[in-house]
């Protein structure tokens, strides 16, 4: 088993989403207009996952995802599949980007597996034995929904945590070895982080495979004090968007977990060169030991044009390889997907 979980030093991965091919967007549009069937749309999604995996493979990514091809958005996808949510309409996140922010109108209930099928398909289609499956965390689902029903947000978050725990157990049963809980909203309210961390722990309870948490575009100094308390193996954080200035926080808060290091900016169409990537990784190595460093983009790539997203991955891998060679000379060869924390 140990050998199966082995990875090259500085494993490269993605955060989750990837641009949908233009033809998939067209298929979704046709499906919405009743021009193609559910079955035909499913086929289009499956084909898109294969296309994304191929992009990841050509780029040289060690741990791919399915690009979240089936998910319009990270909260609404789950809200659509759980009982208790209602959608009124799209809400803007920035500029011209929207999502259908759900409203909680009754008690949240788990009625059917959420992402087990998509995991199984990706696992079968993947070129790599290592794939990452992402799931939106309980705090972020609650924070990015309107609460019309629960007395407190805390009540809502803990109900969601229990539901996510059920789903994670099913994913492990299906063979998942690397689960990433997406919690970009976690730093939003400093006064809520403590109990939100408890809720995430509730969600990952008993999950003894590699578990990461992804946080981005927030004040990390609100979360990093809870590094030990949060029972995950890895923090996948965005850094490139802020010129890597937040790396110093890792030292300030004695960060000693694995870092998923955001090395390319997903909100900028300029493609970072391999040398820039290598330079950023060397900077991160001043704060994190090589065997605890994973390399990824800042966040999901889905808002970029596909050719730019692809080139960013190509250069991310090329830049990583430069540093990998340097580390090999120092005796760092491999790392592992083994969980580091007991849950």
């Amino acid at each position: 088993m140990e050998k199966e979980l082995e990875l090259p030093i500085l494993p490269t991965t993605v955060i989750g989403s990837y641009p949908r091919p233009k033809w998939l967007r067209e298929a979704i549009r046709l499906h919405k207009n009743g021009k193609i069937s559910d079955e035909e749309l499913k086929e289009a999604f499956d084909d898109a996952v294969i296309a994304v995996l191929r992009d990841h493979q050509v780029a040289g990514v060690d741990i791919p995802t399915d690009g979240e091809m089936r998910r319009d958005e990270m909260v609404e996808y789950f809200a659509e599949r759980l009982k208790g949510f209602k959608f009124y309409g799209p809400v803007r996140v920035w500029g011209t980007a929207y999502y259908r922010k759900p409203s909680v109108v009754s008690k949240i209930e788990y009625t059917t597996p959420l992402i087990v099928d998509e995991f199984k398909f990706t696992k079968n289609a993947s070129y790599s034995p290592h794939i990452k499956i992402t799931i939106t965390g309980p705090y972020t689902i609650a924070e990015w929904s309107y609460n019309e029903y629960y007395k407190t947000k805390q009540d809502l978050v803990f109900d969601l945590a229990k539901i996510i725990n059920i789903e994670l157990k099913k994913l492990v049963e299906a063979g998942a070895t690397f689960i990433q809980v997406d919690e970009p909203a976690l730093p939003t309210h400093a006064e809520e982080v403590e109990w939100a961390v408890d809720a995430i722990n509730e969600a990952v309870k008993g999950i003894n495979v590699k578990v990461g948490v992804h946080i981005c575009y927030g004040d990390y100094s609100r979360v990093l004090p809870y590094t030990d308390k949060l029972l995950v193996d890895q923090f996948a954080l965005e850094f490139a968007n802020r010129n890597f200035e937040d790396l110093v926080l890792l030292k300030r808060f004695n960060f000693d977990k694995e870092l998923g290091f955001g090395v390319v900016d997903v909100h900028n169409r300029r493609v970072e060169s391999p040398e820039e990537v290598a330079s950023a990784i060397r900077k991160a190595l001043e704060y994190v030991p090589p065997d605890k460093l994973f390399i990824n983009p800042d966040c999901g790539l889905k808002l970029l044009p596909r050719n730019i997203a692809f080139q960013k991955l190509v250069n991310m891998v090329a830049g990583t390889k430069i540093v990998r060679e340097e580390l090999k000379r120092k005796g760092y060869i491999s790392t592992s997907l083994k969980p580091l924390v007991s849950r």
Binding site: Y88, G89, P90, V91, R92, V93, W94, G95, T96, Y98, K101, S103, E143, W144, Y146, N147, E148, A185, T188, H189, Y217, G218, N241, R242, D265, H267, N268
Partner: protein, 325 residues
């Protein structure tokens, strides 16, 4: 005492308008076509204003990506940086980077206001159109300052520019909203709050238009004294977000004109008319002069369909009070 209705800040930018912006950003349409579509959607918003008989309103800020984007219409020196969360919302703005002395842009905001006025004339809408600007504390704290060694100098320069911008606008509009959510931001230091009066003196110098000070989100009660001492004509309070603190807020209403943010723009749940009337009644009992009721914060945070329902609620509150013909 009179009770009026108002709408502050932004109206949710319709998805179809966002698609037009995307087409413009991808250079598939030209600026003229974009402006034509912005006018069309602004006209729809003004029609809603007319239907609900709102007395104080903005143009919905449909032209701008966010509140901070608006500042690029009257400042030409800052540049746009990466996306940053707008306070504690799942809504992001591009942070302005100040790399040289702040300079006023003479035309963009003024042109936008002139276009709004043409639309209002065409639609035969009365009421008061408010210009919108960002307050100095909010602007300074949401920007990245790479130029000013003295932070006070940044605030002074910004305040002087606001004064010039508003001087230009006062031939066209009778009121301005100064958005200052940063006033109650915990991260803003106390000395800045204590000096706020100086900046607002600079902003208001020689101005005859009504100045509506708009704040939203969580209030720090130990800053209320400074807030209600600022030299403005109307003081805005996010009633929804501060329900539990209102007992400490109401005493400051005495002899002031107040704007009560009574429509929750961060939740889809509808407000009860009874509750809104209770807020009005308590404000009245606290000695408030004129009261304007409206949305608590920017409407970007709720779906358009919900925003419309909530806006229509305003009319019901005021009509049931028998204050409207």
């Amino acid at each position: 005492m009179s009770i009026k209705t108002g709408l502050i800040g932004s109206y949710p930018r319709p998805v179809n308008l966002a698609k037009v912006f995307s087409r413009y950003n991808s250079k598939k349409i030209d600026k003229e076509k974009l402006n034509q579509e912005i006018r069309r959607y602004t006209e729809k918003f003004f029609s809603l204003v007319k239907e609900v008989n709102v007395e104080y309103f903005t143009d919905g800020l449909l032209r701008w990506d966010d509140l901070i984007d608006l500042t690029f219409s009257y400042l030409k020196s800052p540049t746009k940086d990466g996306l940053i969360r707008f306070y504690d919302n799942n809504f992001y703005y591009r942070r302005p980077v100040i790399s040289s002395k702040l300079e006023k842009d003479d035309s963009q905001l003024l042109e936008a206001i002139k276009e709004d006025l043409e639309l209002l004339k065409k639609l035969e809408i009365g009421g008061t159109l408010k210009a919108v600007v960002v307050g100095p504390i909010t602007y300074a704290t949401l920007s990245e300052n790479k130029y000013y060694n003295d932070f006070q100098k940044l605030l002074e320069d910004y305040s002087k520019i606001l004064n010039e911008v508003l001087s230009d606008l006062q031939s066209y509009v009778n009121a301005v909203e100064i958005h200052e959510p940063g006033f109650f931001d915990k991260n803003v230091k106390r000395d800045l709050i204590e000096r706020a009066n100086e900046y607002y003196e600079i902003i208001g110098k020689g101005l005859k238009i009504e100045k509506h000070l708009i704040s939203y989100f969580d209030i720090q009660v130990d800053r209320l004294k400074e807030y209600f001492n600022l030299p403005v004509d109307v003081y805005g309070v996010d009633v929804i977000e501060n329900r539990k603190k209102l007992g400490k807020v109401y005493p400051f209403f005495k002899d002031k004109n107040v704007y009560l943010g009574v429509l929750d723009t961060r939740n889809t749940k509808m407000e009860s008319i009874t509750t809104i009337k209770r807020f009005i009644s308590s404000s009245n009992e606290s000695g408030a002069k004129d009261i304007i009721i409206g949305n608590a914060s920017l409407m970007d945070f709720i779906p358009e369909i919900v925003a419309v329902r909530k806006i229509k609620l305003l009319n019901k509150v005021v009509s049931k009070d028998g204050k409207r013909a």
